[in-house]
């Protein structure tokens, strides 16, 4: 009897010690409310934070929605804010910062950030505004078996090589449309332009001002490259986003893909596709222009922020809880869900493309306050050029005109 009690007591003590002392959850009895997008890596972080610290909080709620970007500013503007933390990416951090809805984290990092690496800290003029935990970018996907069959040597590394490889596949009669890219009208098509424009060494705005500067030789060259690629893309490309291109790839209907790194794990797993496709799919760096060195991609990170309009103790508890989730154990358990920036990550084949792209010196998605407006104008106005209804110069000058109108209305010009 005594022995049984002793063992039970010991076990209970062990259990409590592991859950209480392993994670420092900051002040007790606080409310932790998280707004985040909806994909496996974010669930992994939030799950780990919840299991560590939900016990010591008075409330722990999570809202995972792909519409997070649309509601975040409205939700965070009132005081107290609806959520104590929003999990953001490059562009959404800017969206929150434009309205002053995230607080600097320097003191919190000092107190709780022992396990964070310095490259996880997103700083703006020395103020830490977010803690990144994963990276993402676009890069190339190749079907090595089809490249071999078409007589392509090695894997194409530049846009010109991609175009000639696509031509070889087409003329060999293997596929009429070997290329897949996310070119859906709107955000996606604008983003493809961004990547190619960056590869050409383009700048989006005149130095230090909000005036757009894309109607130049580099912009035109980027558009010409884009059009040459689109020649080999599926006829419905203007309606295709990530889910569609992934589907085409998994169905074995494409041999060259320019897709997100975050799709790598899903494409390479043994669900939704045949062994022929998965065993021959290789992920590699985003292409450069011939003779250039910058990979045509935008690097993205996802990270946590803390709201301005909540009490200091709520902010502290939320930060402590989320940071407690960023451990090597969490990474080990979810290794293939993301390209983790946290210690303990073992890059597998699904991470090869993003790693190579980042190491090649690709640029981050631009963090200009007014970037969203330009991106939207690109998404709407480049389509006429891709359809062949307009010249490259006309399309770019339309983009600048649309951007200028919107930027004036929004107060940036």
């Amino acid at each position: 009897m005594f022995l049984k009690k002793l063992i039970l007591g010991g076990l209970t003590a062990l259990f409590f010690s592991s859950s209480l002392f392993a994670a420092d959850c900051g002040p007790n009895g606080q409310s932790i409310r998280i707004l985040a997008s909806d994909f496996p890596a974010i669930h992994a972080i939030a799950n780990s934070a919840e299991s560590n610290c939900a016990g010591s909080a008075s409330e722990f709620t999570r809202n995972h929605t792909t519409e997070a970007r649309q509601i975040m500013n409205a939700a965070q503007t009132p005081d107290p804010a609806e959520y104590t933390s929003v999990i953001v990416a490059n562009s959404t951090l800017v969206q929150l910062m434009n309205d002053g809805l995230v607080r600097p984290l320097n003191d919190l990092v000092e107190k709780y950030g022992g396990n964070l690496k310095s490259n996880q800290l997103i700083t703006i003029d020395g103020k830490i505004m977010a803690i990144a935990f994963m990276a993402n970018s676009q890069h190339m996907y190749y079907r090595t078996d089809i490249l071999d069959k078409a007589g392509v040597d090695g894997m194409p590394a530049t846009y010109d090589e991609i175009i000639s490889a696509a031509e070889k596949i087409r003329s060999a009669g293997i596929m009429e449309h070997p290329l897949v890219m996310n070119l859906k009208v709107g955000w996606n098509v604008g983003e493809v332009f961004n990547t190619i424009y960056l590869a050409h060494g383009g700048e989006f705005f005149k130095q230090g001002s909000a005036e757009a500067s894309i109607n130049n030789a580099k912009g035109i060259a980027a558009l010409e490259t884009m059009k040459a690629l689109v020649e080999y893309a599926h006829p419905d490309h203007l309606t295709q986003a990530s889910d569609d291109t992934q589907g085409l790839w998994e169905a074995g209907q494409a041999a060259i893909g320019f897709m997100w790194g975050s799709r790598g794990g899903v494409i390479l797993d043994n669900e939704g596709s045949s062994a022929e496709v998965t065993s021959n799919t290789v992920l590699s760096a985003a292409p450069t222009v011939t003779g250039g060195s910058i990979p045509g991609a935008t690097l993205w990170w996802d990270g946590i922020t803390i709201a301005t309009n909540v009490s200091d103790s709520e902010a502290e508890a939320t930060f402590a809880a989320l940071v407690s989730g960023m451990t090597s154990e969490m990474v080990a358990a979810n290794n293939d869900d993301a390209i983790w920036l946290i210690d303990g990550f073992k890059p597998g084949p699904a991470a090869a493309g993003v790693s190579a792209t980042a190491q090649g010196g690709a640029k981050s998605y631009p963090m200009f306050a007014q970037m969203g407006l330009l991106h939207n104008a690109l998404g709407a106005e480049l389509v006429d050029f891709l359809k062949g209804a307009e010249s490259a110069e006309q399309a770019l000058s339309d983009v600048e005109a649309v951007y200028e109108t919107a930027a004036k209305d929004a107060g940036y010009l």
């Binding site: 990276a135 963090m367 200009f368 939207n376 107060g411």
Partner: protein
């Protein structure tokens, strides 16, 4: 009731006259896992002070209505001066978002409305002549397109017309052209959207006409039959005049509904080839992550204005009929 309608409209109108304050922009050094860059950010404190003084924003008058996103008066003037032929001028106008959206919206409205009216009437006549036993199930089946939510209905069709879908693949086989795509050609996209619109709205006009057919007086029909009128003549001279007020009512509703065409454009991902006025409002509010309330407000006011113009002929006619009846 008046306030209920007026308050939102007036508020939207006032919003459309204001734009955001000038954002105070500072150059900042921005570091992330991949390195540091010089970018710009908003000085939120300075910007907040401006906002506090005038929460509505900066007064901009009717400039939002005349800018490039809307009526584009200056740009049109320029296009007129720089075009050497009328076709070039029209092409240039088509480049401005509002006119492009208007051209699709109006075409859609004026193609779909008569088709729905006419086909709905035919279906109603057909169903009315069915044996009693079949009437119930037929009516239910005919109503299905309208029962299905527009977003879902058009999404299903979107998948069907895909190159791998039932309709898309059949068309490719039929025309022996593997790259034939309903989604890639502007003309076919317009046709697809309009066929969808007709399919979706026909049950509405059908059910209203069908209800109307139940009220056609038997005596008049019998009298016409005795006078030797054929079936067609009975329909032409008895049934149609009887249903005329209903037809006007349906036309009114259809014009309004069709002018606000929106869901199919989203579901069919047809933005590349067809945009509508409602889609423009949605785009202003949503796409850039910086809602342009003034632009959305102005487009909304333009929508109300255009619907008013569209309905005017029908309303005038109704008003005249009403007056004549009262005099009589």
């Amino acid at each position: 009731m008046f306030l209920f309608i007026a308050i939102p409209i007036v508020s939207v109108f006032i919003q459309s006259l204001h734009i955001e304050h000038k954002q105070v922009i500072i150059v900042s050094e921005n570091c992330d896992p991949f390195g540091c860059e010089t970018t710009t950010s908003v000085d939120t404190e300075a910007s907040a002070k401006l906002k506090e003084k005038a929460p509505l924003g900066k007064f901009n008058g009717f400039k939002t209505y005349s800018n490039r996103m809307h009526f584009a008066f200056d740009e049109i003037g320029e296009a007129w001066n720089s075009s050497d032929s009328f076709i070039v001028f029209v092409k240039k106008i088509y480049n401005f978002p509002l006119y492009r959206a208007l051209s699709f919206t109006l075409t859609y409205t004026f193609v779909v409305t008569p088709f729905v009216l006419f086909l709905g009437f035919l279906v109603a006549l057909g169903v009315n002549n069915l044996p009693k036993l079949l009437k119930g199930p037929t009516i239910f089946a005919s109503l299905l397109p309208m029962i299905v939510t527009p977003l879902v209905g058009s999404l299903i069709l979107f998948w069907m017309v895909d190159g791998d879908g039932v309709i898309g693949a059949t068309l490719q086989k039929l025309f022996n052209d593997n790259s034939l795509s309903l989604k890639a050609s502007p003309v076919l996209t317009w046709v697809m959207l309009m066929v969808y619109g007709i399919w979706h709205l026909m049950p509405f006009s059908f059910i209203v006409f069908y209800a109307g057919l139940q009220t056609v007086p038997h005596e008049t029909i019998e009298a016409a039959t005795i006078d030797g009128a054929s079936k067609f003549q009975r329909t032409r001279h008895v049934v149609i005049p009887h249903l005329m007020p209903l037809a006007i009512f349906i036309t009114l509703i259809l014009l309004m509904d069709n002018f606000r065409v929106f869901e199919p454009i989203i579901s069919f991902r047809a933005e590349a080839h067809a945009t509508s006025i409602s889609w423009l409002i949605w785009n202003h509010l949503r796409e850039s992550a910086y809602p342009l309330y003034n632009a959305a407000g102005a487009t909304s006011m333009i929508t109300i204005f255009c619907v008013g113009i569209l309905l005017l002929p029908v309303l005038i006619r109704t008003w005249r009929d009403f007056n004549e009846k009262n005099k009589g």
